[in-house]
Symmetry: none
DNA sequence: TGTTTTTTTGCGGGTTTGTGCCGATATTAA
DNA sequence: TTAATATCGGCACAAACCCGCAAAAAAACA
């Protein structure tokens, strides 16, 4: 069997079954696993498949629906960078969704071994591109507005977790009303996250600092750390430091 | 034998078998391999065949250039169309993930009011674009291979549901081994879905019919309906009708 | 017909490609 | 943690390839 032929066959199998094992192919085509591995590597270089340990996956599934233009992306990248530094190996981390969280996902160091809990589809999709973190998806009814699972079941699951960290993509925060939201169901989810985490981190672009919305998620003192794109000594953040928050 | 004759013969052989080996031809026509090679090179220059190391392939065989699209999309659209007609207002529907299921999501009639349960991120994302269906995300650990939630928790949640319908994006099916998979964790999820649904529907492009993989999900008789892109009276499907399956 | 010219072919070499094997390392699962 | 499995890098060997040349064959021509 010619090399091209073999590779065509392999590509076909991958597209057909989404996943193939080198060992299976080797037995099927009667060539050594090394050869299969080399074929898979070549096909992966050409971008036709995705190589994984032990075999390969089809490319078709593996593109994420990204590239939506993000509002004030640069600021969010700075926030993400700061926030990522808080995550240590072995931690359990709760996160909401939103564009800032997605930037956080991208900013995680490649070798990190931690477990992320989220009810956000887009966040989960982004976490999946990371090679070594584990992802626990929180199930329940999917809110089309929030792109997030909401409901009692989700809250119950969140409360089961004893998380080290909780990252909240924040819509509005000020010292008198605390962290506020405009969606009842999202509020409930965030509330559950706040109460399940040792340390609560709010990721907020400075534009949203000192603004409030209708529904309170938690008091300002329930937040331990505030991350913005500004320097910690920026006057805008003085109030929060006075209230005892750590500001990055 | 004249050069022209020989090349005509070679071209004929290539088109007939899709591939030829220089060594074989050399022996067959009783000329040196160098001559064969030169012939193949000429034919390749004229664009009549594709030269590869060791021989040559026919034109059609080398169609691989950047098929970034979903594999056999048209077939899947037909399947999706047929499957969508099974869903009625008010139904509870369990589904796996995969490209065929995504096509199903796109084929659902806009006014449909039903509840879809899935552990697949990509499927959930597609369902979210539908205006009126409700989506319940099944939570648990996200398998990066399968792009699906897997694990005991997910299985337990699935078993809680009394679903009317279950759509399985199917990897391999045949009458003796039933529905088979290549991933242990995915098998468990599908198994749970099969046992929780009144009616189990397997969505399978005909290429996968009568193939098997390593791990059995369920017996052929646990499947009630088989949907392929073929007409129900296609001979390939006769066996399944004989086994008592409904074939669409 | 015989001779010259052109084309085609086979062969000897050195080079490249494809494959399998082995030992060292990395990754995964229990 | 350990054990099992997969991967990587290097090596070896055979098969295929390329190049140049000269013999052979075919074609052209006197």
């Amino acid at each position: 069997m010619l090399k091209k032929e073999r590779q065509a066959y392999i590509l076909h199998q991958v597209n057909l079954h989404n996943r193939v094992l080198s060992a299976d192919l080797s037995q099927e085509i009667k060539v050594s696993e090394d050869t299969i591995r080399r074929d898979l590597a070549e096909l992966a270089d050409q971008g036709k498949i995705v190589k994984v340990h032990g075999g390969a996956l089809s490319q078709g599934y593996h593109f994420s629906l990204n590239a939506q233009q993000v509002y004030s992306l640069d600021e969010k990248k700075i926030i993400a960078q700061k926030a990522a530094s808080l995550v240590q190996d072995g931690m359990f981390v709760l996160t909401t969704g939103g564009t800032t969280i997605i930037e956080l996902a991208r900013a995680l160091p490649p070798g990190l071994k931690a477990t992320f809990f989220t009810g956000s589809l887009t966040a989960a999709l982004e976490y999946m591109r990371h090679p070594s973190i584990e992802i626990i998806l929180i199930g329940d009814r999917l809110s089309k507005n929030a792109q997030l699972t909401v409901g009692g079941e989700a809250q119950a699951r969140i409360r089961q977790v004893k998380a080290d960290l909780c990252f909240l993509g924040t819509n509005a925060i000020d010292t008198t009303h605390g962290l506020t939201e405009n969606d009842w169901e999202v509020m409930q989810i965030k509330k559950a996250m706040v109460s399940s985490a040792q340390k609560v981190v709010s990721l907020t672009i400075s534009e949203k600092v000192n603004t409030a919305q209708r529904i309170q998620v938690c008091d300002i003192h329930d937040i331990h750390t505030l991350v913005t794109e500004l320097s910690p000594d920026d006057p805008l953040l003085k109030n929060y430091i006075r209230e005892g928050l750590e500001v990055l």
